[in-house]
């Protein structure tokens, strides 16, 4: 909380993007989260990503459930559409919204409780269906709103602020996503915007379900020694497996890479993700090897980060189900409501 709003003045060098908006135009209300919350840094990264992609804010839907994380859509893109759903039910709303208006760029923000406990089934099925949605899981390992109980992502052996040891195994969102056939899987850290922003951009441009697990320390309840989701712990144990540079379709490629050092993956719209491999032999398009690699790091007590897996041939839910591509609001009334004669005809088919 802060008593004053963020002043509207900005640095003289602040530049507009291709559609004439500055980064400040992508901001939302002032955050009410605790000072130092990782979620706020993710919000800043999301703002940066949308600005860099020249997205028109009114063509975005931002969705969330319940929890600290789920408050954050209020803090970016004040001019976008928003929906705060029932706890854990954001994927259903997103599925419906996407079906009704496939032109919307959708971003869902959730937390470890909202995703891995109450909304676990919803998350799984959204992945399975490959809903065209960027799903950001702000992962801090605790229930912050209810004063810091362990969440489902708390690592076994980590301790609470009071010293209590967690004995249960953690659900790892990234491994889960790889198992369920998610077509875009990444892990990042709120304190590393250089890594996070390109992943968010690639995720927004991915046609299908883009899952990003972002370690986001809870500064109030889970930033102590013994926590495996603290700033210091994450910095000490983060291993960047791949570095992803996102190059939008219309951009000129200016970065030069040493031959053989980069793996290019072309996305459905022609955008390119250049993977600079930090770990040797890592292949971000090989699901099984990615899984094995991440497990290996996990066993060693390390947190593998980066855009870990991408399926460039992803077919999203709309395409799979042959949903009419024109958004419903643009359909003529006669098509949306063809009348009782058409209904009778349809019903005849089921007799």
């Amino acid at each position: 909380m802060s008593y004053i709003a963020k002043p509207k003045v900005h640095h003289p060098s602040l530049k507009p993007n291709a559609i004439g908006l500055t980064r400040r135009d992508y901001e939302g209300a002032l955050t009410t989260l605790c000072a130092g919350c990782g979620h706020d840094s993710i919000t800043a990264a999301i703002i940066q990503a949308f600005w860099e992609l020249d997205v028109e804010p009114h063509k975005v839907a931002k969705l969330s459930g319940i929890g600290c994380s789920s408050k954050t859509p209020a803090y970016f893109l004040r001019e976008a559409h928003g929906f705060n759903s029932v706890h854990g039910r954001m994927p259903s709303i997103a599925t419906g919204a996407g079906a009704a208006n496939g032109d919307l760029m959708m971003i869902g923000v959730s937390g470890d409780g909202d995703s891995l406990s109450i909304g676990f089934g919803q998350l799984c099925h959204a992945m399975r269906r490959n809903v065209n949605l960027l799903y950001v899981l702000e992962n801090n390992g605790v229930y912050g709103l209810t004063k810091g109980q362990f969440s489902a992502s708390a690592d076994s052996g980590s301790t609470s602020k009071k010293g209590e040891v967690n004995t249960m195994e953690a659900i790892d969102g990234v491994l889960l996503a790889l198992t369920l056939g998610a077509t875009f899987v990444a892990r990042s850290f709120s304190g590393d915007k250089e890594q996070l922003v390109p992943i968010l951009k690639a995720g927004l441009m991915h046609k299908g379900f883009a899952f990003i697990d972002v370690i986001s320390p809870c500064v109030t309840f889970n930033d102590h020694e013994g926590s495996t989701k603290a700033y210091a712990y994450t910095r000490g144990h983060q291993i960047e497996v791949v570095q992803a540079d996102f190059v939008p379709l219309r951009s000129e490629i200016t970065t030069e890479y040493e031959a053989g050092s980069v793996q290019k993956v072309t996305m459905h719209d022609g955008s390119v993700v250049n993977f600079r491999k930090v770990a040797e032999d890592y292949d971000p398009t090989d699901r099984d090897r990615a899984y094995a690699h991440i497990r290996q790091h996990q066993e060693a007590g390390e947190v593998a980060t980066g855009l870990l897996y991408i399926d460039p041939s992803s077919v999203d839910m709309m395409e799979q189900n042959d949903v009419v591509p024109t958004p419903l609001y643009n359909q003529p009334f006669e098509t949306l409501c063809p009348g009782s004669a058409a209904l009778d005809k349809l019903q005849l088919r089921y007799r």
Binding site: I4, V9, P12, S13, L14, A35, D40, Y231, A232
Partner: protein
């Protein structure tokens, strides 16, 4: 870069752009806050400590503070610092009880100050309370120097002068009016004085010797003419008046002409507007009074017909700026008709009364050789200050030089070495009042600079003494004080407490902050969240941070001092701390001050 040393008062002092730019280092943000609280007496006293003449300067100062003001880099217009000073002076109650007094028992040292202008008066102001027996020799009938005789009363009313000069004179200065000093040697040889201070200004207007100069009685020298108006010796002028020169004296001359009955007044400039010496606001005030400012003319001769001045002939130039330099080419001649001409092309010093064989060396331009730090001439015990020391400047420089000369005179009379200058001190104290509460108004107010209300033209032309500026109204004052960014409330960083959570960086509205790998300054300046291109604005650099070894860098340039970085900081690594600069004055060393505990962590 090396870790910034905030223990040196210069670092945070420089962040307070106005205070740093002010020759006397007036604590501007502090007095603006006091005005905001309606504490006009306190605001006046804070001013008076450093600049001695708040009421006078609040109307006439050259305002070096305003071009420096951070607000102008944020929304284009500086805070109206100067006119707020006037608010404090106008609204205060009787502050005479708070003006320093001279002790009954004197310290046995006698001083002679020559000339009763701002420099001498400042010396008297600083040294009277220490018990000196001071005599001021003034050639005119009253004190004030150029402040009284050269600045027209429509800009500076007599009551204001009388009050502020009175505070000093009434300490018991021995005033010798109508007593021009005709020989410095005589003063020195009298052995009456332990030290002598020369504050005689630059009283000689520059001449323009071209054909016809001495063929008319309607050709005047600016500062002499203003003086004659002041004393009532000149009460009229021709209908058409040309003012030659475009400095601040020219502005006073053209506006005075209007009040003496001239209907067509032109100010003639050799160069183009960008190169004018007059302050932009003085040019605006003149133009508001329907005065033409004509560029690109250089005087050739006065046109005299039948012994009467009828015009002036000029070379006309075409001006072009090439590589930042003004290149002028003559394109013809032009005659402008006129009845009177006032020459306002500059001032010179004149020391016909100082003998050249008394061990007081004169150097270039026939100016005395004066030490830039101690203000002592090459003759021990003879000090200079104000325009007489280094040529024409302005009142606020004269005041500051008076302060410095007073320190030297005191040390000289006490037998201490003059080069041991007393150091400055600083206090840094947190302004934190609660979780998100600060003891200053931290919210940014987007209100624009308030426009000074001026008296209507016919009314002001009717009399020489009608003050043009009405002063800010209460409502204007309320708005203008909120424009001050409180640059003295410093963002103070304690690196040991930082957990590198990015909260401060994300919240900063003006992208001042960056955590990055350390590097040399030129490289670092290009690697920040927003490029730090204002090279005279410092970078505040921390030591290596605990978790990543990066450094926190703050570009001071456009910081709003809104305190949001400190509000969003979970560990109190950022704090808003009030910086107070302690200045030394004669016999009053600056308190050393305290720096709040550096490594205090709240968790």
């Amino acid at each position: 870069m090396r870790r910034t040393d905030v223990g040196n008062p210069d670092y945070f002092h420089k962040v307070v752009d106005c205070q740093w730019a002010c020759p006397a280092h007036t604590n501007v943000p502090e007095y603006i806050r006091l005005i905001a609280q309606g504490r006009f007496d306190d605001a006046y006293i804070v001013n008076r400590q450093s600049n001695v003449f708040p009421g006078i300067l609040g109307r006439t100062c050259d305002r070096p503070c305003e071009p420096a003001c951070r607000r102008s880099r944020v929304d284009g217009k500086p805070v109206a610092i100067c006119r707020l000073k006037r608010v404090a002076a106008d609204q205060k109650n009787d502050v005479s009880a708070r003006i320093p007094k001279a002790p009954e028992v004197k310290n046995g040292k006698k001083l002679a100050l020559i000339g009763a202008g701002p420099a001498s008066l400042t010396v008297a102001n600083d040294l009277m309370p220490l018990g000196y027996d001071i005599t001021i020799f003034e050639k005119g009938p009253r004190a004030g120097g150029l402040m009284r005789i050269n600045i027209p009363s429509f800009r500076l009313p007599e009551e204001v002068l009388d009050e502020e000069i009175g505070y000093i004179v009434d300490m018991g200065v021995n005033m010798k009016y109508n007593t021009p000093v005709e020989s410095l040697k005589a003063v020195l040889d009298s052995n009456e004085y332990d030290a002598v201070f020369v504050g005689t200004g630059a009283p000689k207007g520059k001449e323009l010797v071209i054909p016809g100069r001495y063929d008319s009685d309607q050709i005047f020298i600016g500062i002499e003419w203003l003086e004659s108006i002041h004393f009532g010796h000149v009460t009229s002028v021709g209908e058409k008046v040309l003012i030659i020169g475009v400095g601040n004296t020219a502005m006073d001359c053209c506006r005075s002409s209007k009040r003496l009955g001239a209907t067509d007044v032109k100010v003639i400039a050799r160069k183009t507007r960008k190169y004018f010496k007059a302050s932009p606001w003085e040019l605006e005030d003149a133009e508001e009074e329907q005065i033409d400012i004509v560029e690109n003319l250089q005087p050739v001769r006065f046109v005299i017909e039948d012994g009467k001045l009828t015009g002036m002939e000029f070379d006309q130039f075409k001006s072009e700026e090439i590589d930042g330099k003004l290149v002028q080419e003559t394109i013809g001649r032009v005659i402008l008709p006129c009845d009177s001409v006032v020459l306002a092309i500059g001032q010179d010093n004149a020391f016909p009364w100082i003998e050249r064989d008394i061990g007081l060396e004169f150097g270039k331009w026939d100016m005395p050789v004066v030490d830039k730090v101690t203000f002592m001439s090459t003759r021990d015990g003879v000090f200079f200050g104000g325009d007489s020391a280094f040529g024409p400047a302005n009142i606020i420089w004269a005041v500051e030089q008076g302060h410095q000369a007073a320190i030297s005179i005191h040390q000289f009379c006490q037998g201490e070495p003059l080069t041991d200058r007393p150091p400055q001190g600083q206090t840094l104290a947190s302004t934190k009042m609660g979780l998100h509460e600060w003891s200053y108004s931290n919210n940014y107010d987007p209100v624009t600079r308030q426009k000074m209300i001026h008296v209507e033209l016919p009314e002001r032309f009717a009399k020489m003494t009608v003050e043009v500026e009405e002063g800010f109204t209460a409502e204007q004052t309320r708005k203008e004080v909120e424009r001050c960014l409180n640059c003295d409330i410093q963002t103070n960083f304690t690196e040991s407490a930082c957990i590198e959570c990015d909260a401060c960086i994300d919240i900063c509205p003006v992208d001042c902050l960056t955590m990055t790998v350390n590097d040399e300054e030129p490289v670092l300046r290009t690697h920040l969240k927003a490029p730090a291109e204002q090279l005279d604005q410092a970078l505040y650099v921390s030591g290596a941070l605990k978790q990543t070894g990066r450094v926190m860098v703050k570009d001071e340039n456009v910081c709003l001092h809104c305190g949001l970085c400190a509000e969003r900081c979970p560990t109190y690594a950022w704090d808003m701390r009030k910086f107070v600069l302690h200045l030394p004055y004669a016999g009053v060393p600056a308190p050393e001050g305290t720096v709040a505990e550096k490594e205090k962590v709240s968790l």
